[in-house]
Amino acid sequence: MSLAEVAAAIIGWPPVWQVLVIGFLGSLVIAVLAVWFERKAAARVQRRLGPYWASPRLGGLLHLIADMVRYAFQYPIIPRTVDLIPFLAAPIAGMVIALLPLAVVPFTSNPAYWPLPPSAMEYSLLIALAIVTLPPIFIIAAGWASNNPFAVIGGVREAFIIVAYELIAILGFLGAAASTGTFNLVAIVEAQGGIMWLAILNPLAFLAAFIAIVMSTSAFPFEIPESEPEVVAGPFTEYSGLLYALNMGGAYMRRFALSIILALTFLGGWYPLVPGEGLLMGYILPSVVVVVKAVIVVLAISFLRAVYGRYRLDQALDLAWKILLPMALAGIALGLFEASIGLT
Amino acid sequence: MSGAELVEGPRDYEATLKAARARAESALREAGISFSVEEGKGFVDLVVDVDSIVKAAEALKNAGFTHVVSVTAVDYPKKKSIKVAYHVTSYLDPEIVGGIVGLAVYLPREAPEMPSLSGVWVSAEFMEREVYEFFGVTFKGHPDLRPLLLIPELAEKRPLRKDFVVREESIYEGVPERVRRG
């Protein structure tokens, strides 16, 4: 085997492929698109133009590239008061771990292209959810390492929010498991089989999971850790240049990773496409369908910025514990009920 | 102090002021405080002695003057005095609502000092701090007497006193050579 073949085999190995290509490169593009859409959609609702002059034909898309280049070349300031190692490591680790769930989710029903062996695939939903809960730790670490009052308050807020949404996210996704009676993401997608999306069958669990994603990636109306009027940029107040861009990108990547899980569990995964044989039909096209569905979810979340304000921290927790938690539980109950009458 | 039926339509301010003045004067008289009156357009100042000002303030407060709208200080270098007037009015009493009555004292220009009235009227707190930094009047018993608006070095110069001079440029001054040559 030549070196090129080895390299191709490594890249082509589904976990690596999914994390590096779909995850990193894809989410980089998607982060740019999502930020652009967020700014343009907000501009439309707000009766204005939004980014424009860098590339009038592309609707100002290049402004986002300009922002990235500018960040990359700006002088990175690292204050002397920070705790250096966590300060530098947190954004990088946060971003990498945000993409890890993609190493375990299947993008196709063709076993040849599963990232995990079929036996482990049985628990793929659980494994993905377990990894999903990790990145916020690094946001807290970033805030704490910054040694700035605003960053610390932002980090503490993130900690509060985790407690609220983690349970709901897991319970919400478990609603899907309850409906289908399996933790196998492939089986969950197959059970939806085209038209019977779990989002329709089990709207309670879907809503709970959706709002939990909104909360976990601190999108509006739950953008509480980075709430500008009190805590400036929250945990990222002291970050400048490329490190800040990493932090910003990390949130979008997490949103993207979670949206893929949501697309698989509730939005019918790769359906209406039925994966066939071969790389193209068996792997690439199904993953494109999943990614498109996830992008729609990401854009929908971005749109919320245009119409909502921020909840107060305690109100967000209130909402989570008093309304969303019962809703997620009801979603599980509904799922069990549906499973018992054989609807799915 | 019943509030609901308070103000209906437009009011005659002259009548309000008259009522407020009568109320204030009778309150001071009842408290046994001597005062003199200085007229102004739209308000009236009752000048009392600095020793009796706390008693006078309490009398006015009990008579229904709820808050201070302005602690107005004026520097009179010729008379060698600084006048400090607490212009007070009421929000809650329908008869005198909005009528401005001043409770004034004259203080010596050198080391002016008077008791703070922010214990009587909470609303005077920030305004007294202002008078302190701009005129150097020390309010005894003020809970938190620090400069409010100015940085300390400027506050030491007492900028609103008349001997702090700010000059206007004349109409020929400050033209650069390039422009003056025409």
């Binding site: 707000q46 009766r47 109306p221 953008e223 009027p229 909502y308 | 709820t66 609303s123």
Partner: protein
């Protein structure tokens, strides 16, 4: 941090101030300096001490925009301070300068002609709407609602456009002068104003849907920053903040100036005293100002044009000036105004600006300059409310309370 912290929370129980009871603490109190370069502070600094997530003490540190208006007012003659004082709140320019002009008019013994009075009221109400919309915009951004910011800023442009057509400047109109105003309405202005009024009425409905009835915003505002009526009266807070607490006070009713006593409008008063009530007062005031604009514009359209300056000034006009006034509707100034003298005396002029009552104490010794001008702006009087409204609330309530008080530092600092 050592030493005992003074807790402002409970010590004004007699005023009916309801707060979350706070412990007296020697440690564990976190001091946060909010401002002056801070997205939630504007041009001021609020030093808060936080116990967990609850503010135990707030100390507004103002003065970052203190531009020595009172001192400069003493050396600039009588007419130059009009643009000077305007800079305290440039988006509420006519309301801010009119009381000074009226105080000077009281001392001089001149009075503006009726048409000028209507014109003043017209610009005042346009400014009031613009000021409230600006307040909404800032409030929106404080609550993270960027659409409210953009909408309010955009709709404010409509009224700025009106003011620009009327006066020739977007914000700093310097419109009233002692004895009159500087410009008459241009051709086609009444129709333009009516269209703007109709437009704004429709927009207010949409504001209600996206902002005021937005469940997120509502939950941020309800029962937040409650200032009970008794406390409001003690603190002497003014304007919509006082009226949101049930204080029935508006200078336009207490001391009707210009032609306000001839117009039909309502002064909205809410009794709840929380941030939501203060917001609703502003919405209602926009509605009432729209009504006033309609009435004033109708009057101006119906009545024939007449000089917009006092008789005493008009009769000194040379023919050229009279011609300009007739053809362009522009009242010229006269050279002696720069150095005019005003009879000795003291006067208080006051008016209701967008943010509340403004008071000018003007003292003249008969010279070319005012002897003393004391200005008490609405924001200066509202500043003290921070100290009492903030303690006992969560840190995230700070922008909600700040925004609902509609505090504008340049105005407060003078």
């Amino acid at each position: 941090m050592s030493g005992e912290v003074r807790v402002y929370g409970g010590w004004r129980d007699d005023l009916g101030l309801k707060v979350i009871p706070t412990r007296r603490l020697a440690r564990d109190v976190y001091e946060v300096f909010i401002g002056p370069q801070h997205p939630g502070s504007g041009h001021m600094r609020i030093i808060i001490r936080v116990d967990g997530d609850v503010i135990v003490e707030a100390d507004p540190d103002i003065g970052y925009v203190h531009r020595t208006m009172e001192k400069l007012g003493e050396i600039r003659g009588w007419i130059k301070p009009i643009p000077l004082f305007e800079r305290m709140a440039i988006h509420d320019a006519c309301n801010i300068t009119l009381p000074y002009v009226r105080a000077v008019e009281k001392l001089m013994g001149v009075e503006a002609p009726l048409r000028a009075k209507y014109l003043r009221v017209l610009l005042c109400e346009i400014n009031r709407i613009a000021a409230h919309l600006y307040g909404f915009a800032i409030f929106g951004v404080f609550l993270g609602h960027s659409t409210m910011y953009m909408w309010a800023m955009g709709d404010r442009e409509v009224f700025i456009q009106l003011a620009e057509e009327l006066t020739g400047a977007r914000l700093t109109h310097s419109y009233p002068i002692p004895g009159g105003v500087r410009r008459d309405i241009p051709q086609g202005f009444p129709d333009m104003a009516r269209r703007a009024v109709k437009y704004m009425r429709k927009r207010l409905e949409e504001y209600r849907k996206i902002f005021l009835d937005n469940p997120v915003i509502r939950s941020r505002l309800e029962d937040v920053g409650v200032i009970p009526k008794r406390l409001a009266a003690e603190l002497g807070i003014v304007g919509p903040n006082a009226r949101g607490s049930g204080i029935q006070y508006d200078v336009r009713i207490i001391e009707p100036y210009e032609v306000y006593d001839e117009l039909d409008f309502e002064v909205p008063v809410y009794t709840e005293g929380d941030a939501l009530a203060r917001t609703y007062v502003r919405v209602e005031e926009i509605r009432q100002s729209l009504r006033i604009i309609e009435q004033v514009v109708e009057w101006l359209e119906k009545k024939p044009r007449e000089p917009i300056v006092d008789e005493s000034i008009y009769k000194k006009y040379p023919p050229l000036h009279k011609k300009i006034l007739e053809s362009q509707g522009r009242a010229k100034l006269l050279p002696w105004m720069a150095t005019m003298k005003v009879p000795a005396g003291r006067a208080i002029g006051r008016g209701e600006t967008g943010r509340g009552e403004i008071i000018y104490y003007v003292e003249s010794d008969g010279g070319m300059n005012p002897y003393r001008v004391r200005i008490v702006t609405p924001s200066a009087r509202n500043a003290i409310a921070f100290k009492y409204a903030l303690p006992g609330h969560r840190v995230m309530d700070l922008p909600a309370i700040y925004g609902s008080l509609d505090y504008f530092p340049p105005e407060a600092d003078r």
